[in-house]
């Protein structure tokens, strides 16, 4: 579904008197089926924005509408993938995906089986989170969110803690899902390559106060090749934008 964010601002109160503007006047229209990536340095408020979209953070000014309806709080229709997998450690993979829904229900069972196929976890349905690798656990978390058929999937640096190979693999899994279901995706990252590889629109966020300084469309066909020229040209565009905002740091070059 479409997401529309109108003049959203957020202020944290730090200490007694001090106020920190985390977000200032964010305006954003995201169409149904868009894959938007938000990139910016740590502390620019991108995660805060995502929490607001999820309904997890209700202390803000402005308005957020999802599918034309004002947002009322967290719910299954705004699927959220956290940086850590946050699976229930006492449930195995398939029960984690089902969570509060009964696997004895034939419809739930079928959906879970389909999703296990989609996120390539067949054969691991009985494994506990402690027995999974980071990538497998995150795939389980994605399946858990997808089972609820969200209108929009919000991803908060979901692959940040994974190694490069696993990360690429999960990015492909995510693209497959997106192509299949056309769920609106909003992904926050600090990895430039990731933002270009996945998004059909890149939003660049600058910090203090956090605002969206630029929106860069990416019209490359999927699957994208990181080594090819058009990809590199967009990469350059993003870099120039980040450099001109004085945001460039060593850490971000390494991705």
């Amino acid at each position: 579904m479409s997401v529309s964010i109108r003049s959203v601002s957020k202020t944290f109160i730090k200490g007694r008197q001090e106020e920190v503007k985390a977000l200032e006047n964010i305006n954003l229209e995201i169409k149904q089926g868009d894959f938007v990536t938000i990139i910016g340095p740590s502390g620019c408020g991108k995660s805060t924005l995502l929490k607001i979209l999820a309904g997890l953070d209700r202390q803000y000014e402005g308005s957020v509408q999802i599918g034309g309806r004002p947002l009322h709080g967290p719910g299954i229709k705004q699927g959220f993938i956290f940086q850590e997998h946050r699976l229930f450690p006492w449930l195995n993979v398939e029960k984690n995906i089902a969570a509060d829904l009964p696997l004895s229900d034939r419809e739930v069972r079928k959906k879970v089986d389909d999703l296990l196929e989609t996120v390539r976890l067949k054969g691991f349905e009985k494994a506990y989170p402690s027995e999974l690798s980071g990538g497998m656990a995150q795939r389980t978390a994605i399946a858990r969110a997808l089972l609820r058929e969200p209108d929009v999937l919000l991803l908060d640096e979901p692959f940040g803690a994974l190694d490069a190979f696993t990360r690429t693999h999960l990015q492909d899994v995510l693209l497959t899902i997106w192509e299949k279901k056309r769920t609106t995706m909003i992904l926050v990252t600090h990895d430039i390559d990731e933002s270009i590889y996945l998004g059909n629109r890149i939003l660049i966020m600058t910090q203090r106060p956090g605002t969206i300084s630029r929106s860069i469309p990416v019209d490359l066909p999927y699957p994208r090749k990181k080594s090819e020229l058009p990809f590199q040209q967009i990469r350059q565009k993003v870099m120039i934008e980040l450099e001109s905002a004085g945001l460039f740091s060593e850490k971000m070059v390494k991705g």
């Binding site: 299954i76 959220f80 956290f82 229930f88 195995n92 969570a99 509060d100 506990y128 402690s130 027995e131």
Partner: protein, 288 residues
């Protein structure tokens, strides 16, 4: 060892899967048996030394009867039916007291853990009551509820209450707050929040509370039965002491130990089943 590779390749074939599963089960049984045997080494040595010392007249039969005469006393008690009768009565008392105490502990620990207001209201009083020893309240309970079953069960329940209460409370307060965000995103209602998140997350602590509580229930039973009763294992011990029947005292103690161990093993079995998801340190393997 040279067969290992062949076995692995054979294990892939469907018809030999059954065979290898059987073998695995046998191996597990073997490991279990050797564990039990290891646990028996120390007690057996002690028993042998004890028997020898008694038979040689180094220690007095009156103070420390030899294992064989304790066994004899056991056989007599069992054959007259006295043992089973007393054991049954004691088990019912301990069971009733435990269920009452642990049940209330679970309920109130849950309530106090869940809401801050009830914590402020109730927890200080419970903490005050917790430190009062059994022996101090036993006379009061007898005064209030008489020598009947009620005072005994209440005394056991008082002891059984606190470990479950404290551990349930701690378990609930220890639930990872990050998982609460997940519960909000997944739209858990209050009931689901409790059954799907809080209860399973607090389960390790609750089971620990139950284990401790069972132990204390047996202790409370002894106090209750020694204070005044005409049946039960505690009574049997007191009665035998008056007649210097040391073998029977020993028999009673052994029964308490065995009953305590059996109930503890049952909870551990439950723990193994309910907490099999836990990935934890299981102790160093190898020699002592």
């Amino acid at each position: 060892m040279s067969k290992t590779k062949a076995e692995i390749t054979a294990g892939i074939l469907p018809d030999s899967i059954h065979h290898s599963a059987e073998k695995e089960a046998f191996q597990r049984l073997n490991v279990g048996l050797s564990r039990i045997l290891k646990g028996l080494i120390l007690p057996l040595i002690i028993l042998a030394v004890w028997q020898a010392a008694g038979s040689l007249g180094i220690i007095s039969e009156n103070l420390l009867p030899v294992p064989t005469s304790i066994f004899q006393a056991f056989k007599e008690l069992a054959s007259t039916g006295e043992l089973w009768n007393n054991l049954q009565i004691s088990s019912i008392r301990a069971g009733a007291g435990f269920i009452l105490g642990a049940g209330l502990g679970l309920l109130l620990g849950g309530v106090v853990g869940f809401s801050n207001k009830s914590e402020e209201l109730m927890d200080p009083s419970f903490q005050m009551l917790r430190t009062i020893p059994h022996l101090a309240v036993a006379p009061l309970f007898i005064l209030w509820f008489g020598f009947g079953e009620l005072s005994k069960i209440l005394l056991i329940a008082k002891g059984a209450f606190f470990p479950v209460y404290v551990n349930t409370f701690l378990g609930i307060r220890g639930v990872d707050s990050k998982l609460f965000d997940v519960a909000r995103v997944l739209e858990f209602n209050k009931r689901k929040l409790f059954t799907k998140l809080i209860l399973p997350a607090a389960m390790p602590n609750i089971l620990l509370g139950i284990r401790l509580s069972l132990g204390i229930a047996w202790l409370g039973l002894v106090v209750a039965e020694m204070m005044g009763s005409s049946e039960g294992i505690g009574y049997m011990i007191m009665d035998a002491r008056q007649f210097s029947n040391t073998e029977v005292v020993f028999a009673g103690i052994i029964i308490f130990a065995a009953a305590g161990k059996i109930t503890d093993s049952l909870v551990r079995l439950l723990e193994a089943k309910l907490l099999k998801w836990r990935d934890h340190f299981k102790g160093e393997k190898g020699e002592i």
